[in-house]
Amino acid sequence: MSRLSAEQKIQPHWWSKTFAGVILGLTLSYGLVAIFAWFGPGGLEAVAKNQFNMWMISPFWMLVISFTYLFKTGFKAILYLTLANILIYGVFLVLRWMS
């Protein structure tokens, strides 16, 4: 592996990355669970699916927080996670509009 220059290395940016993971990761997880809640097996009405959905939020959330430190800078973490949010909620709204 060739040595990376200072700019190529991951920047620490602890606060902004943590912020991105905690806030944007949470909204992203809700978006994923929202799609599953409405359009996953059983639809909205299935018995105990509400509980199941609640259980599914935190694993997605935790994984996003865990890997947010791989972004090179805090700015990129916020940027890409915002884009991911827009994408997921876009898909959700289109699906809602179509159904």
């Binding site: 592996m1 990376l4 290395k9 991951i10 620490p12 949470l26 809700y30 669970v33 929202a34 809640a37 059983g42 909205l44 299935a46 018995v47 105990a48 699916k49 509400n50 509980q51 199941f52 959905n53 609640m54 259980w55 939020i57 935190s58 694993p59 935790m62 994984l63 927080i65 865990s66 890997f67 430190y69 791989l70």
Partner: protein
């Protein structure tokens, strides 16, 4: 596997700091969680055997209920039928009751004599198992945040950090994983040995740890998560409210116990009924909760599953097992609970979870020790922050275990002095715990680690000794129970006396003959 060095460096930092911040409270949560695997046995062990009245045959239970409800108005508010031979056939609350843990509840135990007369006995409840469960859920941190225990929220936050620590730990272990997975290098000094065992335990029990981290986050924040989810649902209701018809019932309308047993038989497969708890029988929302057990299934927790019904018309209102094949989400959710509470695999499963919990505690303790060693300076006196962290680690981790051991051994003596037992447990725990923490700051980590471990060993040894001695002391409370669960409590305490003695000797050895430039040297 090759991973870029800056990624390794980043995740090493994440691992170190999440571990250091969350480790101490998680240590208490884990070892106390191990004990909760046997909380019913512990409560039973701590309750004088004559508090429980003899069981009656199932066909006499209806007669017992009728006579009990004629004797007291409290019975219609709620009573429990126990089918286990070791418990009183009927109990109800004279004072307290309800779902929240209360330390001054008073229970009436009832049974029938040979000639069919009602016999009752009123006793304060023993909450030892529930208090250990409270310690497990809050790490002993008192106080409330809204309607939630502060300690639960603290452990929830700690579990988020713990999840991060798990992921980051794997990432920065990956490059050397295949090379040093099963390596336990004893000849490279104690530090390497601690690190190797930390890695080995962490990797081997990884699935368990992910499950625990995830479920604890859910348990701590489910209210908040549900609130957010209701936004997702829009106008759709998240929980159905069942309208209760305004019918007035009387105790005479109550079907016989055999009806409930038959109903459970038709609803389930392979389950047997442990207990049946009635509540609010004269109110608009009467309810009966049946606790059922089947060690072949993934049960909600190690004490069983439950079905809630309307006591008069037997309509099922809620259950922790699916009532039909298309209720598969009930099965999934039940399995999440089961994976946290060790509700599968019967006694083998419980012992496995007991051991895994202790290994988890070891993970946090060893993690702290490794951190301390890494920051070690080549000087006889280590930095103030290092010494403080060492004192905290020893004081909190070992002190908490000492406090529980002393509380357990004093339990039967406290009954002799007629104290309010549940409050005495609390006083005893916190007194010993804070004494240990203060002691480790006064004497330093090295000496107090040795002393606290010796003290814990002695306290553990005194548990079975107490059980033997109190059997022969004449008092109003009897300790004659010879059931396997109670005997095992004493046996396990004896084993742990040995373990703590061995650990104390090892620590002393290191303090005297180990490296001199160490916080563990004296």
């Amino acid at each position: 596997m090759k991973i870029r060095s800056d990624i390794l460096r980043t995740y090493q930092l994440v691992h170190t700091w999440t571990g250091i911040v969350a480790g101490l409270v998680l240590f208490i949560g884990f070892y106390a969680g191990s004990l909760t695997m046997f909380e019913d046995e512990l409560t039973h062990w701590a309750t004088p055997s004559n508090h429980h009245l003899p069981q009656v045959s199932t066909d006499k239970l209806d007669d017992l209920i009728a006579k009990a409800s004629a004797s007291s108005d409290k019975v219609s508010q709620g009573f429990t039928i126990n089918l286990s031979d070791e418990l009183s056939p009927i109990t109800w609350f004279e004072q307290g009751g309800g779902r929240r843990l209360a330390l001054d509840d008073v229970k009436v135990h009832g049974t029938l004599s040979e000639d069919g007369n009602l016999l009752t006995q009123t006793e304060p409840t023993n909450e030892l198992g529930n208090l250990i469960d409270l310690l497990h859920r809050t790490a002993g941190i008192a106080g409330k945040l809204g309607h939630e225990d502060l300690g639960v929220v603290v452990l929830g936050v700690a579990s988020v950090l713990y999840f991060l620590a798990l992921v980051s730990g794997i990432i920065f272990l990956l490059p050397t994983l295949t090379k040093s997975f099963f390596a336990l290098r004893k000849n490279k000094g104690p530090n390497r040995f601690w690190l190797d065992s930390h890695n080995l335990v962490g990797i081997v029990s990884l699935p368990f740890h992910f499950i625990i981290a995830w479920t604890v986050i859910v348990f701590a924040f489910h209210d908040v998560l549900y609130d957010g989810l209701s936004l997702v649902y829009g106008d759709e209701p998240t929980f159905e409210r069942v309208a209760s018809p305004a019918v007035e019932y009387s105790m005479d309308d109550l079907p016989p116990i055999s009806t409930y047993l038959r109903k459970v038989e038709t609803l389930t497969d392979g389950y047997h009924v442990e207990s049946i708890a009635f509540s609010g029988l004269l109110s608009a929302r009467p309810s009966v909760g049946v606790t059922i057990k089947n060690t072949q299934e993934m049960m909600r927790n190690s004490t069983g599953d439950f079905i809630y019904m309307h006591p008069y018309n037997l309509n099922v209102t809620y259950s922790s097992i699916p009532m039909s094949e298309n209720e598969y989400y009930v099965t999934y959710v039940a399995s999440f609970f089961s994976l946290h509470f060790g509700g599968f695999g019967g006694n083998t499963g419980r012992w496995l979870y007991f051991v895994m919990g202790l290994l988890g505690a070891f993970l946090f303790y060893s993690g702290n020790l490794i951190w301390l060693e890494k920051r070690r300076k080549k000087a006889p006196i280590q930095s103030q922050s290092n010494r403080s962290m060492a004192n905290l680690t020893v004081g909190i981790c070992l002190g908490s275990m000492l406090a529980v051991a002393v509380t357990l051994f004093s339990s039967k003596w406290l009954y002799l002095f007629n104290t309010e037992i549940n409050y005495s447990y609390l006083t005893c725990y916190y007194l010993i715990f804070f004494t240990a923490v203060i002691y480790s700051f006064i004497r330093g980590a090295a000496i107090s680690a040795i002393h606290i471990q010796y003290a814990t060993s002695i306290a553990c040894l005194l548990i079975p000794i107490t059980s033997v001695v109190t059997r022969f002391i004449a008092s109003s409370d009897h300790w004659a129970s010879r059931d396997l669960g109670s005997i095992m409590v004493d046996v396990v305490a004896f084993v742990f006396a040995g373990i703590f003695y061995f650990a104390a000797k090892k620590t002393k050895n290191r303090a005297l003959y180990g490296e001199r430039n160490s916080i563990w040297a004296i």
